[in-house]
C-alpha cells in the first residue's frame, strides 16, 4: 500500500460518492415504495406514527409512499371476495392510546360483516394523528389506488379552520402533492404559502435527504419489532386526563362569536374530499367529543371548543348534510365524559365501542340495505 494507491482510493471514493449524490438529486425519488412490509414483515394495521420509537416500535415520517407501503392495505391486489372499507381521519381514528384492534376500524373489521352478495367486509385504518381536511384529502387521494368500496370519515371542527390546513407537518412536507391537489380540486390554498417545505436541489441529494433516508431504514427496522410483538404505540399506565376545567375563554381561532365565520372554515376542501371519493359511498361522522361539566363548562364543551363555535359549526354541518344528501352521523354527544382519555376526542375502548355500534348500523345499511 503506497501513497499513490491511497490517493487513488480516496479520489475514486469521493468521485463515486459525488456522482451518486448528484444522481439522487437529479432523478425522481420513489425509494419510499421499497418496503419489507407485507413481504418479510407484517403490514402495519395503521400508519407509522410516534415519537418514542425505542418503546413504541414506530416513528413519524412524511413519506406517503413509505407510509402506505408499510400498511397492510398495500399487501397485494384486493381479493375478489373482499368489500374494502377505508377509514380516514385524525388521531381519534388512528387510535391514540388504543391497540389496533380497539380502534374504530379494528372493531368494525372484527365484526366480520358481510355484504348481501357474500363479500367479507374488511376495514382499514388510514387515520393519521393530525387535524387537517387537506391531510384527509391527501390520504384519500393516495388510498384510491387500493380500490376502496366505501369510505368512513370521522371528523371534528378542529380540522376545518382554513389557517390550519397547511400547518400539519405531513401536509407541509409534501408540497408537490399539495400542488397536485390544489390543481385537481381547485383548492383555495396558496402554493406559495411559506408553510409548504420545498427542498432545493442540494436538499434532494443523499446528504440533504439523510434524515429522510434514515427514517425509511428505521421504519423497516421497527417493522421487525412490530411483527415480533404487535406493538406500535406505548400505553402508559398513567397519563394526564383530558382537561375538564377551563378559563373563561370563548375564542376559537381568533373569533369570539356569536356566529362562526363560515369563510374561515375549509368547506371547499371538505367538498373536495367528497368529490375525490367520486362514486364511492361516504359515511361522514361527526366524531364524539368530551362534554365537560367542570369549571366554565357552560362556556366551553372542552379544551378544543367554546360552545358557541361548536354549536354553530354543527348546525352548518347538519344543514349541508340535509341539503346535499350526505350519509351523515352526528355522534358528538354519544360518549360519556369518563370514556375519554388524554384529549377531548380520544376515547377508551368502551367509548370507541359505543361509536362503533352506531357506525356499524350505518355501514350495514350501505352494504346490505
Amino acid at each position: 500500500m503506497d501513497a499513490r494507491f491511497l490517493r487513488n482510493v480516496l479520489l475514486k471514493g469521493l468521485l463515486l460518492f459525488l456522482v451518486l449524490d448528484l444522481l439522487a438529486a437529479a432523478l425522481p425519488s420513489g425509494v419510499g415504495k421499497l418496503s419489507l412490509y407485507n413481504h418479510l414483515l407484517d403490514g402495519r394495521l395503521r400508519f407509522p406514527f410516534g415519537e418514542d420509537s425505542a418503546r413504541s416500535y414506530n416513528l413519524s415520517l412524511f413519506d406517503l409512499d413509505a407510509m402506505f407501503a408499510s400498511h397492510i392495505i398495500a399487501a397485494g391486489p384486493k381479493p375478489d371476495g373482499e368489500y374494502r372499507v377505508i377509514v380516514i381521519g385524525d388521531s381519534s381514528t388512528w387510535g391514540t392510546l388504543l391497540r389496533p384492534e380497539e380502534t374504530l376500524a379494528g372493531q368494525l373489521d372484527a365484526a366480520d360483516m358481510q355484504t348481501c352478495d357474500g363479500r367479507r367486509v374488511r376495514v382499514y385504518n388510514l387515520g393519521y394523528p393530525t387535524v387537517s381536511l387537506t391531510k384527509d384529502l391527501m390520504v384519500l387521494d393516495y388510498a384510491l389506488r387500493y380500490n376502496p368500496n366505501l369510505l368512513i370519515w370521522p371528523l371534528t371542527l378542529e380540522s376545518f379552520p382554513a389557517d390550519k390546513q397547511l400547518s400539519s407537518p405531513i401536509v407541509s412536507n409534501n408540497a408537490a402533492r399539495v400542488d397536485e391537489l390544489i390543481a385537481r380540486y381547485d383548492l383555495p390554498l396558496d402554493p406559495a404559502d411559506p408553510s409548504l417545505v420545498r427542498p432545493d436541489f442540494w436538499e434532494q441529494t443523499l446528504i440533504g435527504q439523510r434524515r429522510a433516508l434514515a427514517d425509511l431504514l428505521r421504519l423497516q427496522l421497527y417493522g421487525v419489532l412490530w411483527s415480533a410483538t404487535g406493538i406500535d404505540q406505548t400505553y402508559p399506565a398513567d397519563y394526564t386526563r383530558a382537561q375538564t376545567d377551563f378559563d373563561a375563554d370563548i375564542t376559537f381561532h381568533g373569533q369570539s362569536g356569536p356566529d362562526l365565520d363560515e369563510t374561515q372554515l375549509a368547506f371547499d376542501i371538505f367538498e373536495a374530499v367528497l368529490a375525490a371519493a367520486g362514486d364511492i359511498p361516504v359515511i361522514v361522522v361527526n366524531e364524539p367529543m368530551l362534554i365537560s361539566a367542570g369549571e366554565n363548562g357552560d362556556l366551553r364543551y372542552n379544551f378544543l371548543y367554546p360552545r358557541w363555535a361548536y354549536d354553530d359549526w354543527r348546525a352548518m354541518m347538519q344543514a349541508r348534510a340535509v341539503s346535499e344528501g350526505w350519509n351523515y352521523l352526528d355522534l358528538w354527544n354519544l360518549v360519556p365524559a369518563d370514556q375519554f382519555t388524554n384529549s377531548a376526542i380520544h376515547m377508551s375502548p368502551a367509548g370507541q365501542a359505543l361509536m362503533v355500534e352506531q357506525v356499524k348500523l350505518s355501514l350495514q345499511n350501505q352494504i346490505c340495505p
Binding site: D2, F5, L6, A54, R55, Y222, V224, A228
Partner: protein, 473 residues
Amino acid sequence: MTPVYIVVFIAAAALLGFVTHDRWRVNLLLAVSALAVYALQPALPVRGLDFYLPTVTLALAALTWVLTTPREMRSWRANRTAAVLLGALVLALALTRYLGFSLPLTASRPPQTQMVLALLTVAALLGLLIARFTSPGKAVLSAAFVLVILLFLLLKVPALSLQLSLFLRGLNEQSLTTASALDIRWLGFSYIAFRLLHTLRDRQSGRLPPVSLAEYVTYIVFFPTLSAGPIDRIERFVGDLRRPPVRAAADWGEAGKRLLLGMFKKFALADTLAIIALNGTNALQVRTAGWAWVLLYAYSFQLYFDFSGYTDIAIGLGRLLGFKLPENFNAPYLKPNLTQFWNNWHMTLTQWFRAYFFNPVTRALRSGKKTLSIPVIIFTTQLATMVLIGLWHGVTWNFVLWGLWQGIGLFLHNRWSELTKARFASLPLRWQKTLNVGGALLTFHFVSLSWVLFALPEPAVSVRFFQTLFGAA
C-alpha cells in the same frame, strides 16, 4: 464514544503521530490521554463525581506506579515533568468552573477548586509516603491488588454501588430517594483495573519492565483504548511508545482502513442492529419463536460489530500514533468449536485471564498435595475462569449462569476433542471441512444462546425467553 469524539481523537492522533521527539511524544500522549479520561466520563447525578472519578483514575495510576517501581527508578528529577503536568491539568480543568461557559472537556461543571486541591494534596502526600516508606514488596503489592479488586466489586455489585451512591449523596446533601447503583459509572475502570492488576502482578513476579511515571500513566489511560480496550501488555506498549513513529503510507492506509471499518461496524451495523436486538423489554413482548430467534441473532451480531468496531477504531487510532495494538477479534463466529471461539473473541481479555488466573490455578492444582485427575482440573479451572469473566461484566446471577454455560461448554468440547481428535484427523479433507462448517454453526448457536443470559437482566426473564425460543412459552 460518540462520532464527534472519534473525529477529535483521529485529528489528535494524526497530529501527535508527527511528534517524534521522545519526551515531547510521551508527555503529549500523557496530556491528551489524561484529558480524554475527563472528556469521556459520562455525566453523573452525584454532584462532582464525574470530575472526581477521572481524578481518582489518574491518582490511582500514579500511586500504582509508585508502588510498582523500584526506589532507584522513581527519581523526582526524571519524573517531575509528568507529575507536574498531571497536577496542572487537573487543576486547569477544575478552574474551568469559573469560565462563563462550559467546555466539552468535563461532563459537568467541575466541583469547588479547594476540594480538588485537597484531593490532589492527599494523592501527592500518599504518593510521597509510599515512595518514602515502601518498596515494591510482596505484601504491599498484594494489598494493592486486593484494593483494586475491592474497588472493582464496589462498582460491579449493584447493592454495593447503591450503598456508595447513598453515602456520596449524603456527603453532598443530595436526595437519597433517587439514589441508584447506576449513579457510579466510572468510565473504563474495568479495563483500567486489568492494567493495574497486570502491572502489580508482574512486579510481584519480577517481570515488569522499569518505566517512567509518564509512560506508566499513559499506558493505563491511553486514550484510544480507554473505554473498550484492547488490554495491552505494558512491555509491548512501552516498546511502541519509545520507538519514534514511522509515517509510512502503509501505516496511514492501515490506520484509515481500520478506522473506517470500525466506524462502519459500530455506527452503521451495530447501532442499526441495536434497534431490533434482544433486550429486557422486547424479550417479554415477542410473540413467536421465529421472531425471538431474529432478535437473538440481531443481538449476537450487534454485540460483535459494536465491540469489534470499537477495537478497530482503537487499533486505527493507535496506528496513527505509531502503536501496533493487539487484535481483539478474529472472525470468532466462524470458528468450528467453542475453544477456538474463545481464542478469537475478546482475545486480550482471555489472554489476561489465561496468564493471571487459568495457568496459575492449573499449575497449583497439578502441583498440590492431593493429585486430581486431568479432567477434574480442566473442569475446575475452565468453569472458574469463565465464571470470573462473567462476573467481570457484572456481579449478577445471569453473569454467573453465563460463565457456567461457557465453562461447561469448553469442558465438554475439550473432552469431545480428546475422544475424537484421532478419528477426525483420519477423515478425508472434504469431510473435515464439512464437519467444520457444522461445528461453526453449532458453536455460533451455542454462543448465541448464551447471550440470552448476557443480554437479559435476570434468570426468570431469561427462562421465559428460552421458552419462547423453543416454542414452549
